[in-house]
C-alpha cells in the first residue's frame, strides 16, 4: 500500500518482529483495507451478487473518480492543518467553464483553437490552480483562517457557475472530451476469448446441439498492464526489503511481508480481471492511478511532502527549522485548486453537460473520505492510501445501498454513522497505544 513499509514501532535492533506485534502496530493501515474488503463482501451478499459484476465495478470507479482526485489534494490540505470547503463549487465552476469554452461560446475563427478539448482542458487546470493559489495566498500570507476563505470561495464559485451558465445546462461535449470519463483504453493486443458466445455442446443422443452461453472475452491489454504493474510492485517491495536487511535494519516479519503482498497482488488481479471482462481499464482510472502514485511519492519520499507533515504537526517548530511555512501552504492550496479543476472536468464529461448545480456538496464527501482514511483534523497525520480507501469505502456504500434500494435519507444517516465510527475507532486506538 505504501512505499515505506517499515512498521511504526520496532524493537531496538536486528530482530524479527512477531507477526502479532507487527499486525498490532499497523492496525490502522491493515484495518482500513480490511474494512473496505468486508464492506464489499457484505454488499456482494446483500445485493445478491450484483456488486462484483464487472459492469458495476467499472461503475463504482467512474462514480467515485472525481471524489478520489479531490481527496488527494484534500489530504495535503488537511495534513497541513487546513480545510478547503470550496472544492465542490470550484469543480462545478470549472465544469461550467469547460462547457462554455468548448460548446457555449462562439469564438471568432482566429480564437477557435480555444474550443479544442485539449486546449480548453489545459486552460481549466490553470484557472483551477489560480483559484486555489488565490485562496492559498489569503490563507498563507494574510493569515485568514482557511475555513473562512474557502467558505467564501464556496459561495463565490457557486454564484459564478450560475452566472456563467446563465442558469441553464450546457452540453453536450465534443466526443474527445467525453472520453475522459466514458472512454476505455484501447485494446492494442486484441481480445482474448475464453468462452465464445456460441458453443457446440454434444447431446446425449449423438446430435450436436447449439447452446448459447454467456460469452467471456477479456481485454488483453488491461491484463498485460496489470501483470506488469504487479511484477513491478513486487520487485520494488522485495528490493526495498533487501536493502533494509543489507543495512541491518529489520522490517516486518517475512510471513507478514509475503502475506501482505500476496493479498494485494491477488486483490489487484481480481479487480483487473473483472474490469478486463467488461471493457478494460477506464481512461479515468489510468489518470487516477498515475495521480495516486504521484501523491504517494510526494508524501512519502519528497521533501515537499515531509515539510507539509512537519508544518501540520507543529507550525512553529517547522518555521524554526527553516521551513517556509507560508509558501508551503500556498502551494498546497494551488495543488488543491488544480485537482478540483480536473475533478470538475471528469464530472462534467461524465454527465456530458455542465449544470449550475454540479459539484455542490462534493466537498463534504471529499473531506469525509480523508477523515475516514485516518487523517487528523488537527493536522500532521494522514496518508494518501488511507484517503483513497476512505473514498472507496464511501463509494461502495453509496453504490451498494442504492442497488439495495435503501432510501436516500437512510443512506445519509448510515454514512454519517460510518464517518463517526471511523474517527472514534481511530482515537480509541491512539489513546490505547
Amino acid at each position: 500500500m505504501t512505499t515505506e513499509t517499515a512498521p511504526m514501532s520496532m524493537p531496538a535492533q536486528n530482530q524479527e518482529l512477531t507477526v502479532l506485534g507487527a499486525l498490532k502496530a499497523n492496525m490502522r493501515d491493515y484495518g482500513l483495507l480490511l474494512a473496505l474488503i468486508l464492506i464489499m463482501l457484505f454488499f456482494q451478499w446483500s445485493t445478491g451478487g450484483v456488486l462484483f459484476k464487472p459492469v458495476n465495478l467499472t461503475n463504482i470507479i467512474l462514480q467515485n473518480s472525481y471524489i478520489i482526485v479531490m481527496a488527494l489534494g484534500m489530504l495535503l490540505v488537511i495534513v497541513a492543518g487546513h480545510i478547503d470547503l470550496s472544492v465542490g463549487s470550484v469543480s462545478g465552476f470549472i465544469g461550467a467553464l469547460a462547457a462554455m469554452l468548448m460548446v457555449g461560446w462562439r469564438f471568432p475563427p482566429e480564437f477557435s483553437f480555444l474550443a479544442n478539448p485539449f486546449v480548453a482542458g489545459a486552460i481549466c487546470i490553470v484557472v483551477g490552480a489560480a483559484i486555489g493559489a488565490a485562496q492559498g495566498y489569503l490563507i498563507a500570507y494574510h493569515r485568514i483562517p482557511s475555513f473562512i476563505v474557502t467558505l467564501a470561495g464556496m459561495l463565490i464559485f457557486k454564484g459564478l457557475s450560475l452566472a456563467l451558465l446563465a442558469g441553464k445546462s450546457v452540453g453536450p461535449f465534443p466526443a474527445e472530451f467525453q472520453l475522459l470519463s466514458a472512454g476505455f483504453i484501447p485494446d492494442f493486443i486484441g481480445p482474448t476469448t475464453l468462452v465464445p458466445a456460441v458453443t457446440a455442446v454434444p447431446a446425449s443422443d449423438g446430435v450436436v446441439a447449439i447452446a448459447a452461453v454467456q460469452p467471456l472475452v477479456l481485454h488483453t491489454t488491461t491484463l498485460v498492464i496489470a501483470i506488469v504493474g504487479i511484477v513491478a510492485l513486487m520487485f520494488f517491495a522485495i528490493r526495498g526489503r533487501q536493502r533494509r536487511k543489507a543495512r541491518g535494519y529489520e522490517s516486518e516479519p517475512f510471513v507478514l511481508f509475503v502475506a501482505k503482498n500476496l493479498v494485494i497482488a491477488v486483490l489487484v488481479l481480481f479487480f483487473v480481471y473483472m474490469l478486463a471482462s467488461y471493457r478494460g481499464l477506464p481512461n479515468v482510472l489510468v489518470v487516477m492511478g498515475i495521480l495516486i502514485a504521484l501523491f504517494v511519492f510526494i508524501t512519502k519520499r519528497m521533501t515537499f511532502g515531509r515539510r507539509i507533515y512537519a508544518l501540520g504537526g507543529n507550525l512553529k517548530a517547522a518555521a524554526l527549522s527553516g521551513i517556509k511555512t507560508e509558501r508551503m501552504t500556498f502551494y498546497v492550496f494551488a495543488i488543491m485548486g488544480a485537482l478540483a479543476a480536473l475533478a470538475g472536468m471528469i464530472y462534467a464529461a461524465r454527465l456530458n453537460s455542465a449544470t449550475p448545480k454540479a459539484g455542490q456538496g462534493l466537498e463534504l464527501d471529499v473531506i469525509a473520505a480523508v477523515f475516514i482514511g485516518g487523517a487528523s483534523a488537527l493536522g500532521g497525520v494522514g496518508a494518501v492510501a488511507g484517503a483513497v480507501i476512505g473514498a472507496f469505502i464511501l463509494g461502495v456504500m453509496n453504490n451498494g445501498m442504492s442497488i439495495m434500494g435503501i432510501n436516500i435519507d437512510l443512506q445519509q444517516m448510515i454514512k454519517g454513522v460510518v464517518l463517526l465510527a471511523a474517527v472514534f475507532f481511530d482515537l480509541y486506538n491512539k489513546n490505547r497505544a
Binding site: 519520499r301 504537526g313 517548530a317 527553516g322
Partner: protein, 510 residues
C-alpha cells in the same frame, strides 16, 4: 506575634523524572507579607500551585494546614472558596471582555442565570476603588495597561473575599511607578488583615515590604528570615549557596579566533512598536568557546537569540551579524541555517519538536537537503542519519520510530540537539538546554556541549541556572532588561558576582 494562618508541612511533589519539591515547609502568619525567593526553577511556582489546588491533593505528599484545618483542595475552586486566591505571572484576564465582566467571571452577579448589569457595574466600581483604579468598568481589559490589568486581577481576587493573596512575580512586567503602587496596596491590605504571599526576584522590593522571607532552592525550603535579618547579601548567599561538585564534565577549552559576532543589535517588541526589548547588544564567540548569557527571566535573552535567528522575534530589528569576520544575512530562518547558525529553543514542546512524529523525521527536519536529491528523500540515508545521531546523543528509545511526544524531557532535548547537529552549524545557540531535565540527562547534554566546542564550534548557552553557566562555559555575559550589564571570564566569575551585576543594574534602572 499573630497567629499562623497557613502551614505547609513537608510538601513533596514529583513529576516524571524530576523531583520538583522535596520536603518543603512553609508557615505564613496572619496579616503578614511573606516573600518567597529562589532561582528560576527552584520550585516556588510549583509550591504555590500545590497550595492553590492546581495540583490537586493526592498528587503530592505532605499536608496543608489552613486556619487550623488540614485542607485537601481538589481544584482552584476549592481553595478560592476558602479565600486563597492566586494571581499568576501570566494574567488570566479575557482581553476582549470589560473590566466588570472580568472581575465577576465565573462568579457573575446574576439571578437565575440572568446577569444583573447594574449590580455588576456597581460592584466592579467599588472593587476598583479599593485597588485605587478609577477606570470605567465597561472598558475592555485590552485597552488598559499591564499595570492596571494587574490591579484588575487583584480586584477580582477581592471580589472572592480573599484572605490569603498569592502573587507570582507581580511586578515583573510593571514599570517602577506601577510596582510602587502595587506594593503600597499590599501594605494597605496587610493593615486590613489580608495576608499576602509574594514571589519576587526583586530584592529591593522584598526588603521594602516583606515581614518574613522563605528561601527555596532546588526544591528545598532553606531558611525563613525575619525582617530584621534581611540583607541582600544574606539572601543571595542562601539563594545560590550550593557547591559546585562534579555535576559538570571536565572542560579543557581550546579557544581560537572570533567566529561569531553580533554588533549593535536592537529589537523592538513583537506587538508594541515603541517598546525596545533589546538595546544595542554586542557579543562575540570564539572558535571552540562556550559562552553563557546569564540573566533573570524576562531580561531579553530569548528575544535576543530568536531575533538573531531569522528574525523569529520582534520588529524594527537593527544590527549586524558576522561569521568568520564576514557579514552574513540572518533575516530568515532558512538563511540563518544556511549561514551556519542553529538555535535550539527554550520551549522544546511548542517550538522545538513535531511531537506527533517520530525521532527519525524530527532529526532530519532542519536539513532535509542533506538526505535528499532533487527533492526526493533517500530513506536509507535518512535511517542511517537518524540512527547515527540517536547513538551520538544517547537518546533512550526503542527505536528511531518512537514518537517524540512520548519521550522524557531529557530525551526530547537530545532529539532537538540531534536535529541541529545534523544541520552542521558553526554557531549553536542553546536556550535553556537543560530546563526540566533530570540530573543524569543534564550531564549528558553538558558532555555533548563540550564535544561540540572541542570540534571547534562556537556555542552560546542561555541559562537561568547560574551554577550551570559557571560549570560549563568559558565566558559569561550578564544581561538585564535588554542590555549586557556585565562580562566576565568564567574562571573569575561567581554567582555572587553575576547577581551583583544584575542587582546593580536594577538599581540603576529604578
Amino acid at each position: 506575634m499573630s497567629n499562623t494562618i497557613l502551614e505547609m508541612r513537608s510538601i513533596t511533589k514529583t513529576f516524571p523524572g524530576v523531583k520538583a519539591l522535596s520536603d518543603v515547609n512553609l508557615d505564613v502568619r496572619e496579616a503578614e507579607i511573606h516573600a518567597i525567593v529562589g532561582e528560576n526553577g527552584a520550585g516556588k511556582s510549583t509550591l504555590m500551585k500545590v497550595l492553590s489546588g492546581v495540583y490537586p491533593s493526592g498528587t503530592y505528599d505532605g499536608e496543608i494546614v489552613y486556619k487550623g484545618e488540614v485542607q485537601q483542595f481538589k481544584s482552584i475552586r476549592d481553595s478560592e472558596h476558602k479565600g486563597i486566591v492566586i494571581i499568576h505571572q501570566e494574567l488570566a484576564l479575557v482581553p476582549l471582555l470589560s473590566i466588570a465582566e472580568n472581575i465577576f467571571l465565573g462568579n457573575e452577579q446574576a439571578k437565575n442565570g440572568v446577569i444583573d448589569w447594574d449590580e455588576t457595574r456597581d460592584g466592579a466600581r467599588k472593587l476598583l476603588g479599593m485597588v485605587g483604579l478609577t477606570e470605567d468598568p465597561d472598558t475592555l481589559v485590552t485597552n488598559i495597561g499591564v499595570g492596571k490589568q494587574q490591579l484588575v486581577e487583584i480586584a477580582k481576587a477581592l471580589s472572592k473575599e480573599v484572605k490569603l493573596l498569592i502573587l507570582d512575580e507581580p511586578t515583573a512586567s510593571l514599570s517602577e511607578k506601577d510596582s510602587a503602587a502595587l506594593l503600597d496596596l499590599l501594605m494597605e491590605f496587610r493593615s486590613q488583615g489580608i495576608t499576602s504571599i509574594l514571589i519576587s526576584h526583586k530584592l529591593n522590593e522584598i526588603a521594602k515590604v516583606a515581614d518574613r522571607i522563605t528561601v527555596i532552592r532546588d526544591g528545598h525550603s532553606i531558611e525563613t528570615l525575619n525582617k530584621e535579618d534581611i540583607t541582600e547579601d544574606r539572601i543571595i548567599t542562601l539563594m545560590v549557596g550550593r557547591s559546585l561538585d562534579d555535576r559538570y564534565p571536565n572542560r579543557e577549552p581550546n579557544i581560537g579566533d572570533v567566529v561569531f559576532e553580533v554588533r549593535d543589535w536592537s529589537v523592538y517588541h513583537q506587538l508594541h512598536r515603541e517598546r525596545q526589548v533589546i538595546k544595542n547588544i554586542s557579543i562575540n564567540i570564539r572558535k571552540g568557546e562556550v559562552v553563557g548569557i546569564a540573566g533573570l527571566m524576562g531580561s531579553g535573552r530569548t528575544e535576543f537569540a530568536m531575533s538573531v535567528f531569522g528574525k523569529s522575534y520582534g520588529q524594527r530589528i537593527s544590527g549586524e551579524v558576522f561569521l568568520h569576520g564576514k557579514k552574513i544575512d540572518t533575516s530568515t530562518v532558512e538563511k540563518a541555517v544556511a549561514n551556519g547558525i542553529a538555535y535550539a529553543t527554550e520551549d522544546r514542546k511548542t517550538y522545538g519538536l513535531n511531537l506527533i512524529d517520530h525521532i527519525k523525521h524530527n532529526t532530519t527536519l532542519a536539513n532535509l537537503g542533506g538526505i535528499s536529491r532533487v527533492g526526493v528523500i533517500d530513506d536509507m540515508t535518512e535511517m542511517d542519519v537518524a540512527n547515527e545521531y540517536r547513538k551520538k546523543t544517547n537518546i533512550r528509545s526503542s527505536s528511531v520510530y518512537q514518537i517524540t511526544g512520548n519521550l522524557s524531557g531529557g530525551n526530547q532535548q537530545k532529539v532537538v540537539l540531534s536535529k541541529w547537529l545534523f544541520a552542521n552549524p558553526d554557531v549553536l545557540i542553546l536556550d535553556e538546554p537543560t530546563r526540566g531535565i533530570d540530573v543524569g540527562a543534564k550531564y549528558e547534554i553538558y558532555t555533548i556541549i563540550n564535544q561540540l566546542a572541542a570540534q571547534g564550534k562556537a556555542v552560546l548557552v542561555i541559562s537561568s541556572e547560574m551554577p550551570e553557566l559557571l560549570g560549563i562555559t568559558d565566558r559569561i555575559y550578564v544581561m538585564n532588561e535588554g542590555r549586557i550589564v556585565g562580562e566576565m571570564q568564567t574562571s573569575e566569575a561567581s554567582q555572587e558576582k553575576i547577581m551583583r551585576a544584575i542587582v546593580r543594574a536594577e538599581g540603576k534602572a529604578s
